[in-house]
């Protein structure tokens, strides 16, 4: 069975949810511990949401130096799929695996709401199961979710089709170009602020639209 690692840092909150999503998609969820420089042979990694180290200093700034992140960076350079959700996205940006940064929401408040997204790129390791331009409903919950990058970076991302998810029917936080998620140049590393792992069943989420991210990566692992 495909093994997908889920990292726990001190202050990680959505690790159990990410693991549940991985299992629901039919893969084996493997717990990874921040202090161990060991990926335990996984085929892909999810960096879940939360407030690693309290998000003190800057969100993701402390976590990115954890021993496990060294392995994640090395793995990513060899094409291992990596998904960063919310705090995980912030950590991947701080680690330089994804461009840009995430700042305090424009209204300065924490925002928890069901958010519509458009899938703009279906060629990444985490989005191949979606139809192009599909609109999906996924929870958003953060206080530092405003995506920002300098103009040339944004232009490059747009030009190369690396904006993977975009907010539709309203921008909740002031992100540039309504960007909700981006990917690395090779499409193997994806980060997004909204939480697909909270949209895997209508009992506990607004939809089950999020499940397709975790299903997509199964294909990506089999056909790298």
């Amino acid at each position: 069975m495909t093994k997908i690692g889920v990292i726990t840092f001190p202050g990680t909150l959505d690790d159990a949810d990410a693991a549940r999503a991985v299992s629901s998609a039919g893969a084996d969820a493997v717990a990874l511990w921040h202090a161990d420089a060991d990926l335990r042979g996984v085929d892909a990694v999810v960096v879940p949401g939360g407030f690693s180290y309290g998000d003190y200093l800057r969100c993701g700034a402390i976590a990115r130096f954890a021993p496990v992140m060294g392995e994640v960076i090395a793995g990513a350079s060899k094409g291992m799929p990596v998904l960063g959700i919310c705090n995980g996205f912030q950590i991947l940006c701080e680690a330089g695996l994804l461009p840009g940064a995430l700042l305090r929401n424009a209204k300065l408040h924490f925002v928890c709401r069901d958010q519509w997204l458009r899938v703009d790129n279906t060629e990444t390791a985490w989005t191949s199961r979606f139809d192009r331009d599909a609109e999906i409903l996924v929870p958003l919950k953060n206080i530092d979710g405003r995506y920002i990058a300098d103009k040339s970076t944004v232009d490059r991302l747009e030009g190369e089709g690396r904006v993977v998810f975009r907010y539709v029917h309203g921008n909740p936080n002031g992100s540039v170009n309504d960007i909700a998620g981006v990917c690395s140049a090779n499409g193997r590393v994806v980060g997004l602020m909204p939480h697909p792992e909270h949209a895997i069943a209508t009992l506990t989420g607004p939809s089950d639209d999020g499940l397709d991210l975790f299903r997509s990566v199964l294909d990506a692992v089999v056909n790298p």
Partner: protein, 771 residues
Amino acid sequence: MTTEPVGSDLDHGQPVDTVECAGLTPDQRQPYRELGLKDDEYQRIVRILGRRPTDAELAMYSVMWSEHCSYKSSKVHLAYFGKTTTDDMRARMLAGIGENAGVVDIGGGWAVTFKVESHNHPSYVEPYQGAATGVGGIVRDIMAMGARPIAVMDQLRFGPADAKDTRRVLHGVVAGVGGYGNCLGLPNIGGELVFDRSYAGNPLLNAGCVGAMRVEDLHLAHASGAGNKVILFGARTGLDGIGGVSVLASDTFSGEESAGRRKKLPSVQVGDPFTEKVLIECCLELYRAGVVVGIQDLGGAGLSCATSELASAGDGGMHVWLDRVPLRAEGMTPAEILSSESQERMMAIVRPDDMDAFLRVCDRWEVLATEIGEVTETGRLVITWHGHVVVDVPPRTVAHEGPVYQRPVERPADQDALRAAGPESLTRPSTPRELRELLLRMVSSPNLASKRWVTEQYDRYVRGNSVLAQPSDSGMVRVDEETGRGVAMSTDCNGRYCKLDPYIGAQLALAEAYRNVATTGATPLAVTDCMNFGSPEDPGVMWQFEQAVRGLADGCRELGIPVTGGNVSFYNQTGEVAILPTPVVGVLGVIDDVGRRVPTGLTDEPDQTLLLLGDTRDEFGGSEWAHVVHDHLGGVPPTVDLARERLLGEVLVAASRAGMLLAAHDLSEGGLAQAVVESCLLGSVGARIVLPEGSDPFVQLFSESAGRVLVAVSNAVVPAFTEMCASRGLPLTEIGIATPESGILHIDGVATLGLDELRDAWEGALPALFD
């Protein structure tokens, strides 16, 4: 042990008051009054000890004998809960009043613990930190029962929504509740938000938490087994919240100049949710490892409370080496260390053989853990400081045998006048046009408007088990992922009803919380309360309190569900004016399969009939209408019929089991109009309402009669459902149909309102006030 001369330098050049020293200086003047102790209370301490207390002992007694910790004014009344709880009601109760939080058996091998606590005064002084540490405190209470916290709630009351200070306090409090709870990874599943003039100088922040555990994992707070170790773990101890105790620095030891002593400090505590999150995971791993004999959280009264309560609930003795406590500030005195309310700390009792395993777990989570003492058989709590005894007391006298007051109780002289000035004389709307305007005005009034501006700042999704959260009638979380077993919880209180009649008002709060739980398909099981009142020294306030306790206890007996715990907050007043009596009541329910939960909003199923369960009477005393339109409070509150509430609950749960309910929403403040508007907007589904022929539309739409629920069922199910209600004697009125695609709410003969217009009114109000 070495002997030192009286008042010698034991640390940092500061003299420390020892037991020996207290024996030698019996006439030493002590600032007990500044610490809040009365003359006779101080004399009592002297009698207990057979000498004057040391500084450290005085600090301990004064804080533990405070109203907040000792319940000295409320104890005699709270005893009534015990008297009214029958064995039947106790059957599912695993822990009750007296423990950190009540615990009930919800079946399937699961136990659930829940509690609501107040943090009112700190939240006025420093709204963000006051609210944050309020959430942190209640979560540690739940953790101390051996449970994993699974959800939080917050009950907020502020002054008028348009008052300037309300904005300051509300912004801070909401950000604090969210900032702490979100960072802790606990979903917020509900609460209250109320605006009333009486809370202007004294807002209320109550915070609730629910936790779950396997029945066999229940941990009670006691220190047993002589030789077992006392471990303090979590954050370091600093100068937080020791404001009162700093007076000890200046007055002792022959008036000696208090060089190097600190000035009076603000008693503000700062929370660190990250540390608490790590502490939660660490505790849960310790429980799993089976290395905890007893555990207690450190909240109000810090180490004073934890050591004395653990010792007096266990075998009765404990020795603590206070100088081993890891500190965050320099030069703290024993009295200060014992009183510090630094957050994010826990105390555990551990067998010597388990120490290694215990410390390994703490190490993995990078949690600081220090062995600071040992359980003994001496029957005394002995605390030493660098080899000198600074505390030597019988622990029960600190923790459990504090003073008990029989405060004067007197029905306020103006109570009759208040009840006589009913709403009958108030002008009512008469034309359809006036009714339409009133409806829009009501749904956009601060107490009835959508609370989304607040609740959107709270994470409801984390942990992936939230099945229902605000704005549902109750919050619901899945406890067992395999079977779908879960719990529902709602808290309620209408302070205006309580002002008019605290006995009935408390029962109405209970009835509403009970109804909210049943409306979502769960079976009500147990009750907690948070009693927010004015000064206990005011006989009128004590009357309100006594009435509310009796009303709640009698009501619980009638409903057959026990009060498992609670919290009392007195002195909520501005100057001489007390807040509205506010006994917040929380009801916890169980549901065997959360998959059958009943949503609050209408669904877009075709062919639905809307039915109103219960009776509607002309009841406007204490109503939202009287408040919003006439700024009036007088008369009597709606009647309460708990037998009816019980029947209603049974019908709702049975109908949910039978899969009959497409949606259900209870009626409360604002009456039927409010319930219908919310049902439509939550589901984005229109409706057509036909009020009973010949009825007064104003009464039908806005009366606040209790015991009513609006339900939606398929047309095909109407006969069966009607029969079910009829056979049980529950009144039912067909009140209309859902019109999913219409986009309008049409009330025959009264008004046609677009859902967009309604949504703007309902959802726009709070952003307009607070953005």
